[in-house]
Subunit: 307 residues, 4 copies
């Protein structure tokens, strides 16, 4: 397939939509981003990349980091992990306390905020300290994306911490149900540092390859997780990867994926490629408006839905 | 692949679990079923079938009928259908009124009870009467399964109607929000008649072929719906097909599927086959306990997950 | 105290507010009422009445009927009644299904719709038929108000029935939890007939005297219920009598009371008097806007709050 | 009335119930209290006191402190206070986050935990610092109870803080909705110090007199709040003073009151007296089991309900 031409078509088709989305405005560092930006990259198993737009521009990966922390926690804890966090869609906004209270402090899945905070807590317990946990997650991200320069933006994470009262509420609620091992401030602080990692569509699409290839990096041959774990991460991305619009994404795009409030969306085509699209303007569900549309166009044009 | 041997292995492995599930007991007609029954059939695109167990035994398809009514409603209404019913996972039990009230009478998806009742209402409006709607849905089921003798069990549907107060509550609630066109008793009565259709694993796995083949029956060549509609039905089956355990099914089985309280589960492997498994004992989420396990074994043994 | 002057002052003070409320518009019979009407009557223990405004004008008592059905059910069932209906404030709108589902079909109190429907069901079981139950409740209302001509408006009750889908949903939900003995249509039909009884402020304030006098009619000497039952009905009126604004009414008026969507509000000053105020324009909580204000002025001017 | 004999009768009648309640066990300091203790005191307007049981024994006033902080906040803010906290019953447990989230961070009333934390925040803003706020509330309590030795137990408040994750969750949630001015740790810390104040039934019943006498201390003549404010505090105690059992308390006792998890309950008989009862064993709603029964017996024996 002529991927470059398809991407070029998509870029053209989504152009009129660039004004429609709204950038996240809950912290200044994100609110200042120019919404009229767009990039899309696909990375094949041999490392070939096709890109359009500002594919070198760095952006805050935000909730896409939840895929990486979930991967590591699953690797270390196996099915034991599901004692502390589930894998069901939530049917509620990403940061809702209601369901968390009804379900006695056990988050529905690792991709809502409470779930990712809980997974971060599990990693801190595994690694022995918040500092090591942060460092190891960052190393993992660098490894799977084959890019050693990746780092976290301290201004963004500090700003998140300053305005992160709802996440502190979620963490304290889990703590009140004995479903958080470490200090609330440490856990939430580490969580925010992972969210503030900055990447571009090239590195993020590259980083998805292990999930497209049953847990094994197809380029380096490195085995990160088992095939079964990899398939299950994809399943959770499909059912829970886009907050309260996960069904809509499965419906319209038909690929396992994960979005972040910074405007990035990653997606996986099993046995074929990793994808990343970025455009900072968000729709009403907090997912990139143009990014969602671009992925929908991609599966329509290529017929590469999993369904 | 030697499907017959794989099915035989599965039959043997699930045998010890047959005592664990509990048959649905909310109406006498279902409560009297012997729980220690099992059957599984796969149907390939050329019509070849592999079966184990009581693959000729008829059972009540119950909620599996929701796949067929959704297909017809989508065919006739297209995306207009989504004005009255969504396609998001509900995160709640299949018959919950809570979410329906909060979301002002619009059901989350066509596979929870409220959604299927709403879809039935749409079909009654389309066909002009409850009688015709019932008859046309039955004809559609007969066509896709290539079996003219299929019919509905009047004792079961009458018994459902007699005990169906919660479904009447759901229908009245939608009516109070002006999201139901026809008389409550007609809509719910027709819904129950579809649920009481009786089939076996052979006919049901055959009936899934159009969803494995982009809307086209691979044997007869008959075009039922568009490829896009077919993919989207599969997406909704994956995210919403098993009530509050849909994430778990996607996670452990990794296939689009739909379960019924009669113990049947259908599943689709895109571009390959239709599957049906049946065992009347249910797990705590109301899905066939052994059926779910058998499908999990099938994707593990064959590697045929969509992820 | 010069009650007549106080009422005259109140009439004058509320006059500018008469345009602010909105009449109930869910059925035509209520929607056509002129909102700019007002009446207020107090009835003392010796039968003396003081009135202002259109105190002879009949209006639909609607939810005020819940006080009378609760009285009879408590008389016949005693504390057994609390097995089927509670006496806690609901913290939710009067017709919410959410709480009813969470609490497994047991209504919070007899003054929300589900509770009053349940109480009507209890009365039908007691009297043996819907017809007799309706007739006996009407006779009770005639007795306590000493007015034989009181009757129910068939146009209103038929119209309610035609648009009463939410109440049918509530009744079916209770039925699904085995908390309703009789046929849903009979129970809801009888409930609507009680709601459609028409009275004026003179007869309604007279009808409250037994609750101001420990269950005994101070004029006729007739004993209706025990002192303890009477006090407890007053307590439930105080905590639950005004839907989701019950706290506000206790806070601002400080009297046990019950409002109806027809614009009437009854209140009780223990050991002193019965009160009824009527003005059809409602506030956002569904209580008479001017009626609430008039009662607030009355307790402020007379100092006759129970607190 | 011979109050001393009535109290003696009550003491005898509740004796067999002393074993039934369970002491609060969420912090060690409370869990170690002997549950078989009982005391009851009434204080008349001339200062006469009647007591039974261990009326000099100090106990943790806990949520009874919410009456005092509400009084001061109402005094300083007047009706402005209702912009940040409501006065409706919650229909939910005292520490629920669900309603707080649905209602966008505005607590239902000042007597649930979120409401009292919010009121504490208002007092800190008024007084300029957490230290001064704590000191002034303590001085107010000493003044109304005419007992200068009253103080807070630092072990209890430190222990509360160490286990207070749910209250921290509530405070952070309000903060995320911009409904908390000061630092979360300061507000919750001050709240816990008020809860840890220790008093006995003599001082607490004395402290209620201003609420029985329209805001004026009947002994000292000191005017604390207006008559209207006093009546309204009583109204909120009646509708919201006992968490999810407020309706039950109004129903069975019929007096404005407030309970604390330390086993104390205060109540007010307007124009007559202040009451305090104490017994550390709690019922399933978190209110003193024997205390509730004792108050019910008191209003039954004396006929002194407000209804």
């Amino acid at each position: 397939m002529d991927y470059q031409s398809i991407l070029a078509e998509i870029e053209q088709e989504v152009f009129p939509l660039l004004e429609r989305g709204k950038v996240a405005n809950y912290i200044p560092a994100l609110a200042e981003v120019n919404p009229k930006q767009f990039a899309m990259t696909i990375t094949l198993f041999d490392g070939t990349q096709y890109s359009v737009g500002q594919a070198d521009a760095l952006f805050s990966i935000q909730s896409i980091s939840k895929v990486f922390t979930f991967t590591l926690a699953l690797k270390f804890y196996g099915t034991e992990l599901y004692k502390r966090v589930g894998h069901e869609p939530s049917g509620n906004p990403f940061n809702s306390l209601v369901q968390l209270e009804y379900e006695k402090g056990k988050p529905r899945n690792p991709f809502i905020n409470a779930g990712a905070i809980n997974v971060t807590d599990a990693l801190i317990s595994h690694y022995g300290s918040a500092q090591v946990a942060y460092k190891e997650v960052l190393e993992f991200i660098r490894a799977i994306s084959d890019e050693k320069s990746i780092t976290s933006n301290d201004v963004v994470s500090a700003s998140e911490m300053e305005h992160g009262f709802r996440n502190l509420a979620l963490a304290n609620l889990m703590k009140s149900f004995n479903n958080l091992d470490n200090r609330v401030a440490d856990v939430v602080g580490t969580y925010f540092k992972h969210c503030a990692v900055e990447m571009n569509t090239k590195t993020l699409s590259r980083a998805m390859l292990y999930l497209a290839n049953d847990g094994v990096d197809p380029i380096s041959g490195q085995i990160y997780i088992t095939a079964s774990q990899s398939k299950r991460i994809n399943a959770v991305m499909l059912t829970c990867g886009h907050y309260d619009a996960s069904g809509d994404f499965a419906f319209n795009v038909g690929l396992p994926g994960k979005s972040g409030v910074g405007g990035g969306i990653v997606a996986v085509i099993p046995e074929k490629m990793g994808i990343c699209v970025w455009s900072p303007g968000l729709n009403e569900n907090g997912n990139s408006l143009v990014g969602t549309k671009a992925l929908e166009l991609f599966t329509t044009k290529t017929g590469l839905s999993i369904f």
